[in-house]
C-alpha cells in the first residue's frame, strides 16, 4: 500500500493554472479589455472571468495554447439587440486595430496570439446581455448563419461557480477542483492525438458534479481533516467506468442545462470509457504497489511526464528542522 497523495499533490502543483500567477495572460486580457473599452461603438460592459478560470479548474495546456475565457456583460438588453451577431460585430470592430488576429466565432470573439506558427494563447470574449427579468443570455451565431442560429441563449457565466461554491465548502471544494484538474490533464494526455475524441473540459466538470464524492478522514489525534485525493479520484473513475448505461450522461446543473457528453459520438464514448478503465486500473495498481517507485511509474503512464517520477521526490519537501514547541 503506497500513499500516492503527496505525488498527486506535487502533480497538481505542476499542472494547476493559477490565475493569480499567470501574469502575462492577465496582463494581455487587460490590454484587450482597455482597447475594447476605448474603441467600442456600443453599450458599455462589465467583464468577468468565466470557464476554468472562474472555476479554478484550469490546467496548463500541453500544446502551450493557453486560452482565457472572458465574459463581457453588456449594459443593454436583448430586446435592444435582437440580432446577437450585431453586438458581436461591434466587439470585433473594436478590436480590429489590436494588431492580433481576431475572429468572430459562433460562441465568442477570439483574439489569437502566436509566435511564428506556434499558437501561444487566445482570448475568448463571450458576449452577454440581460433580458427584461435581468437574466443573462449569451450571444450565439456568426455572420452568414441562418436567423435561427443567431440567438440569445440563456446562460450565466458565473452560475456554475456559484453552484459549486454552494455544493462544496472550503477544503471540500479545493479537493473537488484538484480532482477535476487531474482528470483534465489526464484527458489532454490520453486524448491529445485523438482530436475530437476527447471530451471537453466542461464535460469532466459536469461528470465530477455527478460522480465525485469528497474523501476525507479526521485524524483522531490532531483532529485535522486529511483529504484522500487518490481515493476520491479512484472512486469517481470507478463510478464512471461502471456506469450501467452505454453512454455517460452528466447534465450541467445551471442554464442552459445541457449534457456536454452529448456531443461525443458512439465511438468517441467507447474510447473514452476504455481510457477510464485503464485509468482505474492504473490507480488501483499504484495504490496497491509495495513501493513508491512502482506506483509513480504506473501513474506516469496515464498522467504523463509532469507526474513526479520514481527519482523525483515531491517538490513540497517537508522541513527537517522545525520548532518543536515543547519543553519540560
Amino acid at each position: 500500500m503506497t500513499n500516492i497523495n503527496p505525488y498527486l499533490a506535487t502533480f497538481d502543483e505542476t499542472i494547476k493554472l493559477d490565475w493569480d500567477r499567470t501574469g502575462v495572460l492577465r496582463e494581455r486580457r487587460n490590454v484587450i479589455l482597455e482597447h475594447l473599452r476605448a474603441r467600442l461603438d456600443g453599450p458599455s460592459f462589465d467583464p468577468c472571468n468565466q470557464g476554468s478560470y472562474d472555476l479554478r479548474t484550469g490546467v496548463h495546456p500541453l500544446s502551450g495554447d493557453y486560452d482565457i475565457d472572458v465574459a463581457l456583460r453588456f449594459n443593454t438588453t436583448i430586446d435592444e439587440w435582437p440580432d446577437p451577431v450585431a453586438l458581436k460585430q461591434r466587439v470585433l470592430a473594436g478590436l480590429e486595430d489590436l494588431g492580433s488576429s481576431v475572429r468572430l466565432r459562433r460562441p465568442c470573439v477570439t483574439v489569437f496570439y502566436r509566435r511564428g506558427d506556434e499558437p501561444l494563447y487566445h482570448v475568448d470574449l463571450a458576449v452577454y446581455a440581460r433580458d427584461a427579468h435581468e437574466r443573462l443570455h449569451i450571444a450565439c451565431g456568426k455572420p452568414g448563419d441562418r436567423p435561427d442560429m443567431r440567438i440569445w441563449q440563456p446562460s450565466d457565466p458565473q452560475a456554475l461557480g456559484a453552484f459549486i461554491d454552494g455544493r462544496f465548502k472550503d477544503q471540500d471544494r479545493v479537493q473537488f477542483r484538484r480532482v477535476v484538474r487531474v482528470l483534465k490533464r489526464w484527458k489532454d494526455e490520453r486524448f491529445s492525438s485523438e482530436g475530437e475524441a476527447a471530451p471537453r473540459g466542461i464535460a469532466l466538470t459536469a461528470a465530477a458534479l455527478k460522480w465525485f464524492r469528497v474523501e476525507r478522514r479526521q485524524d483522531p489525534v490532531d483532529m485535522r481533516f486529511h483529504y484522500d485525493d487518490a481515493a476520491a479520484l479512484l472512486a469517481m473513475v470507478k463510478a464512471m467506468h461502471e456506469y450501467p448505461e452505454r453512454r455517460l450522461k452528466a447534465k450541467l446543473p445551471v442554464a442552459p442545462g445541457n449534457d456536454p457528453f452529448e456531443r461525443m459520438t458512439e465511438r468517441q464514448m467507447e474510447i473514452f470509457r476504455e481510457e477510464l478503465e485503464r485509468l482505474e486500473r492504473a490507480l488501483t495498481t499504484a495504490l496497491g504497489s509495495p513501493d513508491r517507485d512502482g506506483a509513480c511509474d504506473v501513474l506516469r503512464r496515464v498522467f504523463g511526464d509532469d507526474f513526479p517520477g520514481p527519482e523525483g521526490k515531491p517538490t513540497r519537501k517537508r522541513s527537517a528542522i522545525v520548532a518543536s514547541g515543547s519543553a519540560a
Binding site: 500500500m1 500513499n3 497523495n5 503527496p6 498527486l8 499533490a9 478522514r217 485524524d219 483522531p220 489525534v221 490532531d222 483532529m223 485535522r224 486529511h226 483529504y227 484522500d228 485525493d229 487518490a230 481515493a231 515531491p314 513540497r316 517537508r318 522541513s319 527537517a320 522545525v322 520548532a323 518543536s324 514547541g325 515543547s326 519543553a327 519540560a328
Partner: protein, 590 residues
C-alpha cells in the same frame, strides 16, 4: 465564643432537657485539667443500659467549629473509646459537618452518639475495639520511630538510640544510610498473627508480667519455639522488642517493649529470668504505612522507577513518584541547576545555602534532587546519574529492563524519539511515559507507551506514532500530532543574550504536567492501562493567542476527551513500531 453567648448557650442547653438536672459547671471545675480548652461545661444525669450515669458536656472555645466534648463519669470498668477523665471518643474530629445555626441540636446529637457508644461498651458488644486502640492506650514511657517493614516472620532488626528516641530500621544498611556513623543495636521483631483475647485491663496499668503475658499468650506454638531457640543461653542485660499487633478491622500497629536489667534467660523464653519492662510508643514510618497513609498505591511499593530529565516537570515528577511509594528512583540529567529557573523548579535556589554547597559533590540537578528527596523520604533509594540518557545507556550505566516504569521528562522530542526506538529494539522494556508541556500555559501532555517482556509481542503504538502523519496526508510535515500549538511556530523568548532562549511557562504548568504524567505512570504500573495512551491538559489560550500564536484543531477538543479519556494514537503505518520491524527505518521519510 463571648461570655454572654456562652452563658446563653449553656442556659439553653440546660433548659433543652437533653440531660436531667443539668447545671453549668463552676469555675473551680473548669480549672481542672480535663477542662483544658473548654469555654464552659455543664453537668447532668443520663440513663444508659438501666444505669444512671453522671455526664459532663464540654463546650470548646472553638465551638461550633469543633465538636463538643462528652465525659461519662461513674463507670466502674474500662470501656472501649472511653478515655481519661471519662472522655468519650464518639466521633472522628475530621470529616464532620456541623449545623452551626443549631448549636443545641449539635450538642444533643453528640450526646446521643456518645451514650450509644457507652451502652455498647456496657453490653460488651465492642470489646474488640480495645485491640483496635491498643497503640493509643500503650503507655509509652519512651518513643520510637520505626522504618521497619512489618513482615510475617520473627527476625532481628536494627535500632539506633538517640537521646530519648529509638530509631528502628530493617537492617544495618538502612540505618547507616539514614543515620550514618551511629552505633546500632539488635532489636527483636515479633509479629503476632492473631490477638483473639480481649485485653482485660488497661495497658497503662500493666507491669512487666502483664506486658510479657500479653505477648506470650498471643504467640503461635511455632513462634514460642522459635523465640525460645533464638533467645535461650544468650545472656544480655537489656532487650528491645518491637511487636506487630494485627488489628481486628484490618491493618496493624506496632508497640515496643524494652526489657531492662534482665537476670537469667530472656523474658520471652520458656524459662524466663527476671527483668523490668518499659512500654514504648512506636510511630510507624515504614514505607508501607506512610505510602498507604499518604494515598499511595500498594502496586507501586517496592517498584523501581527511572526518571529522565529533572527540570521543572521532572522535579515534580520525582517528588510525586516518591510520594506514590516507589522504593528506588534513578535520576538521569546532565544539567546543572540554573538560578534563572529557580521560580519554576521544585528545588528553587538551593545553592544559595553554604551548607548544601559544601555537602554536594556537584551542582548537577540530579545531586540536588537526590539530597532533597532523601531529606524528606529517608526510606527512598535514590540513584543520581549526572549524564545524558544517551551516554548513560550506551555506557551501560542504565539498563531499561532494570526498571518497572520510566518517565521521560526531558521536553526534548529528539531525545524522546531516540529513547522510544531504543526501548522498542530492546529484548524487554518497561512502560514509558513521555511528558512535555507547551508554552504560555497552553497545556501539557503525557503519552504512555506499553512495555514488553522478553517473549511478549510489542503492543501497538509508540511515541513515533505521534510524529507519523496520516496515511493519506498530502503534504506530510514534521510535527507532533498531539500539539496544541499550530505547527510551524517557534515560541521561545530570550531575556539575555544568544543561547539563553527559553520556553515561557510557569511552575503551575510544570506541576500540572507532572501530575498528568505520574497519574498515567501509576495507572500503567497497576495495569489499568496497557496500550499507548495520550492524555493532555489544556489551559487558558489567552496569553498564547495574545502573543500572536495560533492553536491547533486538537486544542478545541473537550477537556473530558483530552484529559480524562485520553486517546489511543497508534498509527498502523508508523515507521518505527508497525511491522515489519526489520525494514522500517529504511522506508521512513524522516
Amino acid at each position: 465564643m463571648t461570655r454572654p453567648i456562652l452563658t446563653e448557650l449553656l442556659a439553653e442547653l440546660c433548659a433543652a432537657g437533653i440531660l436531667e438536672d443539668a447545671a453549668p459547671a463552676g469555675p473551680e471545675l473548669l480549672a481542672q485539667s480535663w477542662a483544658n480548652g473548654l469555654a464552659g461545661a455543664f453537668t447532668g444525669r443520663a440513663r444508659v443500659e438501666g444505669r444512671e450515669l453522671r455526664v459532663r458536656i464540654g463546650i470548646p472555645r472553638r465551638f461550633p467549629n469543633v465538636l463538643p466534648r462528652i465525659y461519662v463519669l461513674d463507670l466502674d470498668s474500662r470501656l472501649p473509646h472511653v478515655h481519661k477523665h471519662g472522655y468519650v471518643c464518639y466521633s472522628e474530629h475530621d470529616g464532620v459537618l456541623l449545623d452551626r445555626r443549631d448549636a443545641v441540636a449539635v450538642v444533643a446529637d453528640a450526646l446521643r452518639m456518645a451514650l450509644e457508644l457507652v451502652a455498647s461498651g456496657l453490653r460488651g458488644d465492642n470489646s474488640a475495639a480495645f485491640i483496635e486502640e491498643l497503640a493509643l492506650y500503650w503507655p509509652g514511657q519512651a518513643l520510637a520511630l520505626s522504618m521497619v517493614s512489618p513482615g510475617e516472620e520473627i527476625r532481628w532488626v536494627c535500632g539506633v538510640r538517640m537521646s530519648q528516641w529509638w530509631h528502628l530500621f530493617d537492617n544495618r544498611a538502612q540505618a547507616n544510610r539514614v543515620l550514618p556513623g551511629l552505633p546500632a543495636e539488635q532489636v527483636l521483631y515479633v509479629p503476632l498473627h492473631e490477638v483473639t483475647r480481649p485485653i482485660d485491663s488497661t495497658p497503662s496499668e500493666w507491669g512487666t508480667t502483664e506486658i510479657t503475658r500479653f505477648i506470650k499468650q498471643n504467640l503461635t506454638d511455632a513462634q514460642r519455639k522459635s523465640l525460645h531457640m533464638q533467645l535461650r543461653g544468650k545472656p544480655r542485660t537489656s532487650s528491645f522488642v518491637v511487636v506487630r499487633v494485627p488489628l481486628p478491622r484490618g491493618g496493624q500497629c506496632l508497640i515496643g517493649v524494652e526489657y531492662l536489667g534482665i537476670e537469667g534467660e530472656h523474658p520471652l523464653t520458656r524459662r524466663p529470668g527476671t527483668a523490668g519492662a518499659q512500654a514504648i510508643t512506636v510511630f510507624r514510618q515504614d514505607l508501607d504505612y506512610l505510602v498507604a497513609r499518604g494515598g499511595g498505591l500498594a502496586a507501586v511499593r517496592r517498584s523501581r522507577a527511572l526518571l529522565i530529565g529533572c527540570g521543572a516537570v521532572g522535579g515534580h515528577v520525582a517528588g510525586e513518584l516518591a510520594r506514590a511509594g516507589v522504593q528506588a528512583l534513578t535520576l538521569v540529567d546532565p544539567d546543572e541547576l540554573r538560578p534563572e529557573n529557580a521560580y519554576r523548579h521544585v528545588l528553587g535556589q538551593p545553592l544559595a545555602s553554604d551548607v548544601l554547597r559544601a555537602f554536594l559533590k556537584s551542582p548537577a540537578k540530579v545531586h540536588l534532587l537526590n539530597f532533597e528527596l532523601k531529606t524528606h523520604y529517608p526510606a527512598l533509594t535514590v540513584e543520581p546519574v549526572a549524564a545524558a540518557i544517551e551516554q548513560a545507556i550506551e555506557a551501560g550505566t542504565i539498563r531499561l529492563a532494570d526498571f518497572d516504569i520510566v518517565v521521560a521528562a526531558t521536553g526534548d522530542p529528539n531525545v524522546d524519539r531516540w529513547l522510544n526506538e531504543i526501548a522498542l529494539d530492546a529484548a524487554e522494556a518497561p512502560p514509558i511515559v513521555y511528558t512535555w508541556l507547551e508554552p504560555l500555559g497552553l497545556g501539557g501532555h503525557a503519552a504512555l507507551i506499553a512495555g514488553h517482556g522478553p517473549k511478549q509481542p510489542r503492543p501497538a503504538g509508540c511515541l513515533d506514532c505521534l510524529f507519523t502523519p496520516a496515511q493519506e496526508e498530502r503534504a506530510p510535515a514534521l510535527c507532533n500530532r498531539a500539539a496544541f500549538a499550530a505547527p510551524g511556530q517557534a515560541v521561545t523568548r530570550e531575556l539575555a543574550a544568544c543561547g539563553n532562549a527559553f520556553t515561557p511557562f510557569g511552575s503551575l504548568d510544570a506541576t500540572r504536567t507532572a501530575e498528568l504524567a505520574v497519574r498515567l505512570a501509576l495507572q500503567a504500573m497497576t495495569g489499568e492501562h496497557r496500550g499507548a495512551l495520550l492524555r493532555s491538559w489544556k489551559g487558558d489560550p489567552a496569553a498564547f493567542r495574545t502573543a500572536g500564536y495560533r492553536t491547533s484543531p486538537r486544542f478545541e477538543e473537550p477537556v473530558e476527551r483530552l484529559e480524562h479519556a485520553g486517546e489511543v494514537f497508534s498509527q498502523p503505518h508508523c515507521p518505527v513500531c508497525a511491522p515489519p520491524f526489520m525494514s522500517r527505518r529504511a522506508a521512513a521519510p524522516g
